[in-house]
Amino acid sequence: MCFKNLPVEFDSAGKPFLRAGVGDPYATATATAPEGPRQLTADKIEDLLKRNGHIKSMDFDPVTRVAGALAFHTVADFDKRKILEARSVATLFRGYEVIMVGRDPRDAIFITSRACGVCGGVHSTCSALATEMAIGCCPPPQGVLVRNLALALEFLYDHPLHLHLLAGPDYSQVIVEPTNPSLYERAKTSEARHTGIHGYRTIAELMTDLNPLTGKLYVEALHMTRVAREAYVLICGKYPHPQTIVPGGMSSTINLTVMNEMFVRLGQFFDYSKKLALIWDDLTEFFYEANPEYKKVGARRANLIDTGIFDHPDAYDATYESADDWGNRRWATPGAIVDGKLVTTDLKKINMGLEEFVEHSYYEEWTGDGQKMHFPTDPSGNPLSPYHPWNKVTRPRPQGQNWKEKYTWDTTPRWDRQGMEAGCYARLWNTAVARKMPESPFMESTGHSLKMRVPAGALPETDLEWHVPDVWNAFERNRGRAYCMAFTTLIAFEQWRAIMERLKDGDTKTATKFEIPKRGTQQGVGFWGAGRGYLTHHLTLDRGAVANYQIVTPSTWNASPTDRWGQPGPYEEAVMNTPLLEETGDATKFRGLDVLRAIRSFDPCMPCTTHIQSEGGLITREVNTCACGLDE
């Protein structure tokens, strides 16, 4: 049974039902969250700050080297070098859900793409998937494959960008040497284990090339984003907001010329992905050996969620009814991992367990007061919470910041009432342990690891193996992301091979015609993934127009605030567990490096809109609730 907290049980045939005799099954007290970390109360923190000079607030506003607007408030005990309070603040409003209401669903592909300046295509695709499901339209196999390939290419842009432009500098010489001089001294004499692949003799050499702006790895990452972009536009026309993604497939023209040009670019990632995986292996092991306390940086329970991605062309039928079947045949397996154990790979159960709360967010509640619950069940008759996105109404309510009440524009998604984390590593983990991925000469899911055989480039064919880690922390997130480069490259290569096979048979059909129904109500959900992990778009159509549109992104999960039970969100939990390891005795000289490592390891992506839609239909003003004056 995958739910421990929601009052949902399963009959002998596996059909879920609400536990009998429960009057208000989704009430806070009925379905309680499990034991786990809790924030101290705001009163307690205030008291500690007043009574102890060594306890101070340390605020990051904005958190730099992340995508978009994120602020972070902490209270730290500089004697014990620990964090007492952590609050994640999304400082800008994302209004796409409001903007979408009343529009033609086809607009959603282009409008929701603008939710992100990095991964617009994943939103376009997720939107197309939701529409496909709602209107009953399935793409042809070649359309599924081309779509997969496009998304893989987007990740090949995304992962190096994070690893070597955003997170990488935290491990570079210019950062490590002044903050942890003894560690850097050790790095000078620590030999790297995989010199033969990445070329670095010592860890210090590697750290030097991670230096921002000037380091070779930084500059190389900038170049590789170009290679991925060039490949992407061959089939999507534009980056980051593609023009060829449609419900029912892709409007791209696919031929041998395009695919050959594609391979010229894709092939460059064979060697690059080997290098990345082993650079982050070496870096991680160096830090662990130098000081095991680094295993606590960004540590939290291994609660991860992902919807899977990369459909099998013979399995995907765009229906909710068979989502479990086609979901389990995806190249990246869907799944929910709780305390390190995979509890389900069923997309419908992942969907059923999803709720979104707003206790600490700048939104009004939408349940209660006689509010009608639109969908007590999903299209298969499985119970849904009133807090489920299909039942949610987005009601923004800007107001002052208060840790006891509301302090962020992010909502609080929970699965089975637990704080879950999204990331590309979640898809790696699910796929590794589920043993459900399609057969491949290049990848093997072993139940505890994922084996990858990366073809030769200038470097020889190389076997990589990502292992489910013993601890879950900032280093493992980065290492996982680095291995995801190889995973994604191989998936892209598999799609390329399959497209070529179909082209040989003359199959160039990439889309199915569709019509938007003008009558009735339809539901759809896009189960997809961004470079940063989990992505869903929940859509309700009414007489051909969007009646409700709800987006849950990876950073909606990760940046979420403390919930109604006092459970911190993932960033918050990870920071609360982070020791302050900088080698300075002066609290004012702290750079908050380990806190920032913890946050950045999630690859935060907050860019959204800064605009609100007024009743008149125009976007009218900026809203920016910053973290200034937190302590007042």
């Binding site: 607030s57 730099t64 992340v66 995508a67 300046g117 432009l165 955003l166 702006l213």
Partner: protein
């Protein structure tokens, strides 16, 4: 002389789209040899890569950019034109600009700072700033910017084609913002 004249902005953002509007209008004119009018409203890193693709023996010798820049100390629709003094922010700020660039922010100051840092720009960079009034979704320019539109187009055109005019322009600095990183309480 090879000159690249480009607009920078987001589409459908009223006055903040002025860079794109001007670039589109100027694209209708017949440019003299060596003058290229282009939309530069995309990832600044990609712009660097595009500039670096030019043949070494025929690099652009002048870049002219036009964009909305809110300074707040001049009337809406005001046009400021200057030769960029090349002043650069700290490396920390350049990093922030790169982060913004690769995560989807399109802004003139970021574009110039990053392109200068990575040595993709010629020595001569001319900036045409337009003080915006409206910052909303939509295609319409405000009355003030709309009135100034022909003048903005002519100014950019002169910057691209009239060496003597450019020679008389003052030198000026970009309107850069600096953000704090950490605050203790």
């Amino acid at each position: 002389m090879r000159v690249l004249a480009g607009g920078i902005g987001y589409p459908d953002l009223c006055d903040y789209s002025i860079g794109i509007e001007v670039q589109e209008k100027l694209s209708e004119r017949e440019a003299p040899p060596g003058v290229v009018v282009e939309d530069l409203s995309y990832n600044p890193i990609a712009i660097i890569q595009r500039l670096n693709d030019e043949a070494p023996d025929s690099l652009f010798e002048r870049v002219v950019v036009v964009s909305a820049v809110k300074r707040g100390d001049r009337p809406s629709g005001a046009v400021s034109c200057y030769r960029w003094d090349g002043g650069m922010p700290s490396d920390e700020e350049v990093q922030r600009a790169v982060t913004d660039a690769v995560t989807g922010i399109i802004a003139m100051d970021n574009t110039l700072v990053i392109a200068r840092y990575f040595k993709a720009l010629p020595e001569e960079v001319v900036v045409v700033e337009v003080e915006p009034e409206t910052h909303e979704f939509g295609a319409a320019l405000s009355a003030e910017v709309s009135t100034a539109f022909p003048n903005i187009c002519d100014t950019v055109w002169r910057c691209a084609t009239d060496d003597a005019f450019v020679g008389q322009l003052p030198s000026g600095a970009l309107a850069l913002t600096v953000v704090p990183l950490i605050r203790f309480g």
